[in-house]
Structures are given as C-alpha cells and as structure tokens.
C-alpha cells in the first residue's frame, strides 16, 4: 500500500439507549492509502455510517485512535477539527444535507468562504459547470431534484480540494440513472485530482469499481478485498 493518509486503530463506538449499552463499532482498525478508492460495505446497521463519520472526524469514537495525513485527530476538540473538515476532507451525505437557506452556488461556495478564498465564486461556478448545473446555480435546494442536489453536494465537498472525500451511500436516495451519473462523477473527480475516496455503500456494483472493499458486519471488519484494476 502507498503511504496511508488515513489510519484507524482499535476504534470502538458505544451508545446507551434506555440504560442499555449498544456497541456499533468494535475494535475496527484500518489504513487507507493516498489516492485510494475504498468502499466500506455491509448490510444496513452494520456500522458503515458510524465508521465513516468517525473517520471523517464528524463524530468521536468511544475508544481507539484515528490519524489523518499523519495527524492524530482523536483528542482534538470540535473547533480544532473544524479546519481539518474544511480543508483536508470533504463529505457527501446520503440525504445531501444542503443548507436550505442558500442557493446551489452559495451552498458550493460556503466551505471556500470559510477559508476566505477570494476565488470561491469562480471555483464554485466551475464545479457546477462541470456537473452541468451552472444554469441552475440560483435555485434553492427545494427547487432541485434529488440527483441535482447530490451533484451540488459533491461540488461542495470538492471546492476546497480535499485530500480525502467521504461519501455515505451517495446514491442511496437516487434512482438508478441518477446513481450511475453520481458515481461516474465521483470517480472522474477522484481520477482527475487523485483524491482519496472513502465510500460507504451496500451496492455490489459500486464496490466492484473500488480499489479495495472493507466488509463490516455487526461493527466488526469481516475482511478486506482488493479488486483487480
């Protein structure tokens, strides 16, 4: 494996519901190389989304360590994690999660504006143009279809040129035609920018296109399969 950009060691995550301890992740360790496209596969409830959110620094593990680009993020506070989320990683959600009060262009520009990037607008328009949504840039999320919203969400995840993009079931809410388009778009962007892509999905078709598939079951890694390129 090339130099790992993301490494997790002994990750555990527990919740307490009604006084009962529920283990979502149990001793998960993995390493992902720079520029890799890794799929985290598993059935519903296997812990894919939780693992992805912890790897992306959106959630904290109950125990274990995570290193991104050589930096241990485990003990960082929310505000210390903020610049990492803004510059180093991008996240594409299953339910898109665009900001409803902002239009498509503003949604894409938003992370770049945190960095006070003067070229935020140009970059956002370029990305939207690439995904075919430049004419719709002034539309608000509720005025866009699911596929269009997800394309905007992908542009938003890429605007700051992240080294790793996390995608949680990015096609989970889309029909097959839109799903194909979104996956192609993500892979094209991955190829163009050599961005590391970590995707949670239970789609065998998508998994077949990944460099590597990590299979989760009941919060544990069942195994890792490398696909032939």
């Amino acid at each position: 494996m090339v130099d790992p950009i993301l490494a997790a060691d002994g990750l555990c995550k527990h919740y307490y519901l009604g006084g009962q301890k529920i283990t979502v992740l149990n001793d998960v360790s993995l390493a992902i190389g720079k520029g890799e496209f890794v799929v985290i596969a598993g059935d519903s409830g296997s812990g894919k989304t939780t693992l992805l959110s912890i790897l992306a620094g959106l959630d904290l593990p109950s125990s274990g360590r995570i290193t991104i680009a050589g930096r241990d993020i485990t003990g960082l506070t929310e505000d210390q994690l903020a610049p990492l989320r803004n510059g180093l990683t991008g996240f594409v959600f299953q339910a898109f999660h665009l900001i409803p009060s902002l239009n498509a262009l503003e949604n894409v520009m938003f992370p770049a504006e945190f960095k006070k990037d003067r070229e935020a607008r140009e970059k956002a328009e370029k990305l939207l143009d690439r995904v075919g949504l430049l004419p719709r840039r002034h539309n608000f999320p509720e005025q866009l279809s699911g596929g269009e919203q997800q394309r905007v969400a992908i542009c938003r995840a890429l605007i700051n040129g992240p080294e790793i993009v996390f995608a949680d079931e990015p096609t989970g809410n889309l029909d097959s035609r839109n799903s194909e388009g979104i996956i192609n778009l993500l892979l094209d962007l991955h190829d163009d920018h050599q961005t590391t892509l970590v995707m949670a999905t239970h789609s065998q078709t998508i998994a077949a296109r990944a460099d590597r598939v990590i299979r989760l079951h009941d919060g544990r890694i069942l195994g890792t399969e490398a696909n032939e390129l």
Binding site: T49, T50, S53, A56, L58, D59, L60, E78, D79, A82, P83, L84, R85, N86, G87, F91, F93, H97, L98, I99, P100, S101, L102, E106, F110, P111, E113, F114, E142, S145, G146, R156, N160, N173
Partner: protein, 831 residues
C-alpha cells in the same frame, strides 16, 4: 462574517423571525409608553416643584400654628429677602343668594401676594393679585355652571356675601382637579371672619408659604422653624421634599401600569425565547451540516448573535415607535385626568432607554437558546444529540446573573425593592402554579384512551415533540388569568360600592357639626341620627418608638403619619365585633391606669399593633398616651361610619371636637335637606355620598379602560407564542397532514384534527386562567377587601369562548399552507 449567509438565514426563517421581532416589540411597547408618560407627567406636575407647592418652604398644619411658630414666622416675614403668604383651605358649602341652590366647594382663602410661584390664570386675563380683594370671590367654571351663576352675581359663603369677580382657567398649584370634591373658590383671608366657617376642630388646612431671595438659606430656615413647630402636628418642608396628592395619584397609576407592563414584558420574553428556540431547533441540522463543512462553534454563535441583534434592533425600534404612539393615545384614554398643559412628546431619552431595556430583555431571554448553538456537533446530522445547555456550569452562572439583572430591572422600574421582590415572587408563583396545573392536565390527556380518531390524533398532535404546548398554554393562561382577575376585582368593587349601593346605607354625610349645633342639627334633620364625636389627632409613637413620617409617607396605601379621627363611646357599633381583647376597653379603664383604646383591624395591619401596646397621640398639641385593649372588626361595607381609634368618653370629652352624622335620606329630598342644613349652619359640610360614589365610578371606568388596554397586550404575547409554535412545528404538521392524506384522509379530516388541537389548547388556557383568576380574586375580595364576591360565571364563559375563538382562528389561519400542501410535492422535497 458571512453576511450573505446571515441574510439568507433571516429570509429563510422569516415567519419565525417576524414573530421574534414582534415579541421584542411587544415587550417594549407598554413599558416605553409608561416610562415616557411618567417623564411627561413629572415634567408638568412635579417638574417645577415650587410652582406645584407655591413656595420654597411650606409650613402646614391642620390646626392654627402654635404661638412660638407664629411668632417665628412673623419675625421671618420682617426679614429682608423673605416673602410670606398665609393660606387656609377647607371644604364648605357655597349658596346662591336666594338660598335655592348650594354646592359643596373647596374654599381657599389667600393673602396678597399669592401665588408666590406659579400662576393662577383668570378667564379675563387679568392678574390674580389685582382681582382678589376683600368681599370678592374668584371661582371655578364648574361652580358657575352647577349653581347657574355668572360673574358679577353674589355668592353666599357662610355668613358672608361675596361678589364673583372672575373665573379660574388654570392653576399651577392644582394642575388636575378630578379628585377634589368640589369646585375651587378663592377668597381673601380678610373675609374668613365674616364667613365664620372655621370652627374648633374643623377640617382646615393652615399653610404659610415662604419665598426666599437666597435659596442657600432654605435648610437653615427649615431648621429654625422646625425647632418651633409641634412635632407630628406642624410640618415644615421645602418644595423639593414636599409630597403632593396629585403626584401620589399619578405615581400610583403609573406604578400599577408599570406592573402590567413588566408582566407583558415577561410574557413577551417567554415568546421571544420560545420563538428563537423553535427557530434554532429547526436549524439544528443546518448547524450540524455547517459544522461538518468545517465551521467552528464560534462561527455559528457569532452569526446567530448578530442575527438576533439585528432582529432585536428592529423589534426595539418597532416597540419604541409603537410605545410612543401608544402614549399619545393616553390623552384620549385619560381625558379629564391629565393636566391641560401636558405635552405628550418623544425624547431621545425615551429611545435610548427603550433600546437599553430591549437589550437587557433580549439578552436574558435569548441567552439560553443561543448558548446551545456553539456546541452543536456534526454528528447531529446522523442522530439527535441533545445536550441541554443548563448542564454546563458557566451557563447556570450566566443564567443566575441574567436573572439578577432582570430583578434589578423590575426593581428599578417599580422604584420599590420590596414590591419588586413581591411582584417577581407573585409572577413566579402564578406562572409556576399554572405550569403545574397544565403539566398535570397534559399528562392526564396523554393517558386518556379516546375512540374518536380525529380527537385522538388532535391529542397526540398536542403532545407532539417541539410543539411547545405547555409554553403556549402557560403564557396564554397567565396573561388571561391576570386580565380576568383585574376584571373580576373591578366588577366586584363596582357592584359593592357603586351599583348596588346598599338600600339602608347612609347617603349623606355631614361633617364639622359644632358641639353647640348638635340639638339644632338633630331637629333640622328630624330623625334618630347618631352624632359621632370626632377628635382630630396624629399618632406620635407606638411603644415609645416615634412614627417615622418619611417612611410612612412613602407607603403606597394608608399611612400612620396622616391625621386620624378619634372618637369616644362606650359600646360597639351594630356592625362591629371584638376579635381580640376582653370587651371594648377590657379591665384597663381603671383609676390610675393608662386610658384604654380600641383599634379597628384595618389600622392594626398598618402598624402591627397588638393588645397591650402603648400608643401616644398628639391632639392638637396635647399628648395622650393610651393602652391598646381591644381589636375590632367590621361586618358591613365601608359605606357605614367607622373609626380606627375608639376611647372611653371621659378622656376625649374636653378635647376640641366636631361631630359627624351619617344620614339616610330619600333621593328626592337630598338637595332640599342639604340646602336647609347649610342655610342654617353654613359651617356644616354635607357630602352627597351617592353622587361621590358615582363620580368614583366614572373615574374607575376610565382607569379600567387603560388597564384593560395594557393587559390586552399581554394576551397578544400569548397569541404570538401560539403562532411561533405553529411555525416551529410546521414541518411535523405538514408531515402529519401528508401522511393522513396518503392514507386516505380528506382535507376536512386534517382540518378537524388541527381544529380540535387548537380547541384543546384554548380550553386548557382559558380553563386554567378562569380557575386561577377566580381563586385569586375570591381570596382578595374575601380576605383583603372584605366584600361579597360574585364569580360572574357569564364572564368566565365569555373568556373561555373568546379564547377558543382566538386560538382556533389563529391556529387554522397559520395551518392553511400546511393543509394545502400536495403530498407528492412534499415527499419529493423530502427526498
């Protein structure tokens, strides 16, 4: 700072933002109006204290000044740079020359050069001092109108016949005259002897006013005169320190309006808090997304702080503007009660103070919802991560600080620490009580098993998470309870004292009957009328602790510093019972012991008296020590004669005294009897109590309009919380409506569910309000005012019905866009 994001956020939540702005505005409207009005009133009434009191130094007594004080005043009058003027003021009856008509009037006898400060403006435009001469009278317009007289006509005052020479158009010493029992008549002091109206023990205000060329001498002269004055009987004060009845009236009115304003402010504050919390709840996912995109907690907090500040500034601006406009309406609401020369304007101070006040209120009520933003985690995208802000120590500390600040604000507004604390405690108790009641009822509803589908769904909707049902009901019920309690008290007072004037209650009081007029008076009125001796005295000390006049005069109600009417008799009145002590005078009326005195329970509460206490009176210069031997209570209304202090006859028999009679006269004979009395005994003052009660009724009506208007603003706060809650739960309601429709329900079913939900809300609010208001008003009427209580059930019904109408209409109007939402479109948007 991402301004675009900020503006977009405001635009996206404009409904909720509008409710927030309205709540901020509403919280300020009445308080800004009251504060600004208070400044205007004080500016006119007390702004120039010298014009209001007529001198730099005022020497006042209810009996002639003692010889030493008179000599000192005479010496002062001869000093250079000191001008003195004597005045005598009393009530008596003015008659037409033919004796056909008479009118109870306020007579003021003055010397030249009255007034030393301010002006008495005359209709003719002439100078007062040039017009008022011995043998002449200057009268108020009302006297001419009511007696059918004109300038130039003769007027009988006691034994003197005076010529009316002019009419008073404005008097700076009496800017309003609505609580004077009779119209003003100015006469010269030289005519007092001929009038012969001032007898021993008569109710006369003796006043000497001093004007000093050198103001620095004020304190020294006050000290010099005080040394010669009889303590507790003769008061020497400066115009800056002197109290005034008019000022006290407006202070009390504004104080009461301040109480309602603060109540509205607190309710609107709850509305503010609830609408902001609802808005932030709706935004929680957006916050999590923004955090997932790399924003810090501070980024979110500072943007929302600015958003709240912008909306608050808008709300403050609106509130101040509305408050100042509302103040202008006071002129109409209080017509006849305001000084003619009052200017209801707006000042920069009103705006600055309003803004400051708004900032404090907004800070306090938005602190809790805002404090949670900073800690929203990106993981909230995937699951609800509720962490109540109150768990943090810093939040709790800041909340306590905010609460103290709010207490400080209330105390400053009311200008009275004790009442401020009582008020806040009362509000917390009221809200707490209603919250408990509502909490219990909602729990009970949650457990109910209901077969009717629409009603069941309505109940479930009422208990929907984030619905703020409890906040709405508590706020609405609190506002309604206060408003309704005021109404109930007002109505019960009106019914007791004005409308149902007891059939056997006296309707004519005769004051100042002299000792030698007793027999003649009894023959004149021709009946078995009891004459009550009245000895005027001041309470000097209780258990050798002198009465603190300054503290007493600051009290809002009755005070121990005023002059009391003592009486003597050996038996209880028919409507009296002894509640403590053995009989009226116990066994203390023994040779060698202190004179016994019986106290009425009303005065006992004023001074915390108990059996065995030693009280000392000053009876026009003569001290009288007595021991409290009994406490009495009364069983009839205040329309029957009563006395706070009753002595055995032998101790007061020789004191200067007048007699008081309470007569029941047929309505048609009243005027005639009044004329007969004053024609024979001009010094006797007959007061038509029925007429006075009617005048009081009119005053109460005017004040009640103002109070109801103010209290209605509190209801509006409850309405805003309702709208805010509907906006906050819009998504949940829409989801429910769509699900109902998908499952086959028609629009009417959805409407029925929303209608029933709002109806339940209204019934809970109205019901709780009625219950609390009835209990509170009954308690006040029964235990404090001691009057018969009528719950006025028809008003209860009206309150509940109108609340239901208001809530249902508001609720359904806000739900129309939700009902009209097409299921397909909604589901597509949710993908």
């Amino acid at each position: 700072m991402n301004l675009r994001f900020l503006l977009r956020e405001i635009a996206h939540s404009r409904g909720q933002a509008a409710v927030f702005v309205l709540c901020v505005a509403l919280s300020l409207v009445s308080i800004v109006a009251v504060n600004s009005f208070r400044r205007d009133v004080r500016g006119v009434i007390a702004g120039d204290a010298r014009s209001l009191h007529g001198g730099d130094i005022i020497i006042h007594s209810h009996s002639e000044f003692n010889p030493q004080l008179s000599a000192e005043l005479a010496d002062l009058g001869r000093e250079k740079g000191v001008v003195a003027v004597d005045t005598r003021e009393f009530y008596s009856v003015a008659r037409k020359a033919d004796g056909a008509a008479s009118l109870f009037s306020n007579i003021k006898a003055v010397d030249n050069p009255y007034p030393l400060y301010g002006r008495v403006e005359l209709r003719s435009g002439r100078e007062f001092a040039d017009v008022l001469r011995p043998g002449k009278a200057i009268v108020a317009t009302a006297l001419l109108e009511r007696l059918g007289l004109a300038v130039g006509d003769p007027l009988l005052l006691g034994g003197a016949t005076l010529e009316i020479v002019d009419v008073v158009s404005r008097e700076s010493l009496r800017p309003v005259d609505f609580f004077n029992f009779g119209p003003r008549i100015f006469v010269s002091t030289a005519d007092l002897a001929a009038m012969d109206l001032v007898g021993k023990g008569s109710r006369v205000s003796y006043e000497t006013l001093l004007k000093l060329a050198d103001q620095t001498r004020q304190e020294a002269i006050v000290a010099r005169l005080t040394a010669k004055a009889v303590a507790g009987q003769e008061q020497v004060t400066t115009s800056a320190k002197a109290s005034s009845r008019i000022k006290r009236f407006f202070d009390n009115l504004l104080f009461f309006l301040s109480l309602i304003s603060i109540f509205t402010l607190l309710l609107a504050g709850i509305g503010m808090q609830s609408s902001l919390a609802a808005l932030l709840r709706r935004k929680m996912k957006t916050f999590a997304i923004i955090r997932a995109l790399g924003a810090t907690g501070w980024f979110l907090l500072r943007h929302y702080l600015l958003l709240v500040l912008l909306l608050s500034a808008l709300g403050c601006g609106l509130g101040i503007l509305a408050g100042l406009l509302l103040k202008q309406s006071f002129a109409g609401l209080l017509v006849g009660l305001l000084p003619e020369n009052i200017v209801l304007g707006a000042s920069l101070r009103d705006v600055v103070e309003g803004m400051g006040l708004g900032l404090i209120v907004v800070s306090f009520f938005t602190f809790l919802p805002l404090s949670g933003i900073e800690h929203v985690k990106p993981a909230a995208i995937f699951r609800k991560d509720a962490r109540p802000g109150l768990r943090r120590k810093s939040t709790r500390v800041l909340l306590v600080c905010g609460l103290l600040l709010l207490f400080g604000l209330v105390i400053r507004q009311l200008d009275d620490v004790r009442i401020g604390l009582y008020f806040m405690a009362g509000i917390f108790t009221l809200v707490g009580l209603i919250a408990l009641l509502i909490g219990g009822l909602l729990k009970l509803l949650a457990r109910c098993t209901i077969q009717t589908l629409s009603l069941r769904q309505a109940m479930r909707s009422l208990l929907r998470p984030g619905n703020a049902s409890r906040a709405i009901v508590v706020t609405l019920a609190s506002a309604l309870a206060v408003l309704f309690a005021i109404y109930l008290l007002e109505e019960n007072l009106r019914v007791t004292y004005i409308e149902s004037y007891p059939a056997d209650a006296p309707n004519l009081f005769c004051l100042d009957i002299q000792k030698d007029q007793q027999q003649g008076f009894l023959q004149l009125v021709g009946g078995q009328v009891e004459l009550f001796p009245v000895v005027r005295a001041r309470l000097h000390s209780i258990n050798d602790r002198a009465i603190n006049r300054e503290t007493e005069l600051q009290k809002r109600g009755d005070s121990l510093a005023r002059e009391f009417s003592l009486t003597y008799r050996d038996t209880l009145l028919p409507d009296e019972v002894v509640t403590a002590g053995a009989g009226l005078f116990g066994s203390n009326d023994r040779p060698g012991g202190l004179p016994p005195v019986s106290l009425l329970d009303t005065v006992v509460e004023m001074g915390n008296f108990k059996i065995g206490d030693i009280v000392e009176f000053n009876i026009q210069g003569v001290p009288l020590r007595a021991e409290v031997t009994s406490i009495r209570s009364r069983t009839k209304s205040m329309l029957y004669p009563y006395f706070y202090f009753v002595f055995p006859e032998k101790y007061l028999q020789a004191a200067p005294q007048t007699f008081f009679a309470a007569l029941k006269v047929a309505k048609g004979d009243l005027a005639q009897l009044e004329n007969r009395i004053v024609n024979k005994y001009p010094n006797i003052s007959p007061i038509n109590v029925g007429e006075t009660a009617a005048e009081l009724g009119k005053l109460m009506e005017k004040l009640s309009v103002l109070v109801t208007f103010f209290a209605s603003l509190a209801i509006l706060a409850g309405g805003l919380i309702l709208v805010s809650s509907i906006l906050a739960t819009r998504m949940a309601r829409m989801e429910e409506a769509v699900h109902y429709k998908i499952l086959g329900a028609d629009t009417w079913f959805v409407l029925r569910v929303f209608f029933l939900e709002n109806l339940l809300l209204a019934l809970l609010s109205g019901g709780a309000a009625v219950l609390v208001a009835e209990l509170g008003s009954w308690g006040l009427c029964h235990f404090l005012l001691d009057i018969r209580y009528d719950p006025i059930w028809s008003a209860c019904l009206f309150l509940v019905a109108s609340t239901a109408a208001l809530v249902v209409v508001l609720g359904l109007l806000s739900s129309i866009p939700i009902i009209r939402k097409k299921p397909g479109r909604f589901l597509r948007e949710q993908v």
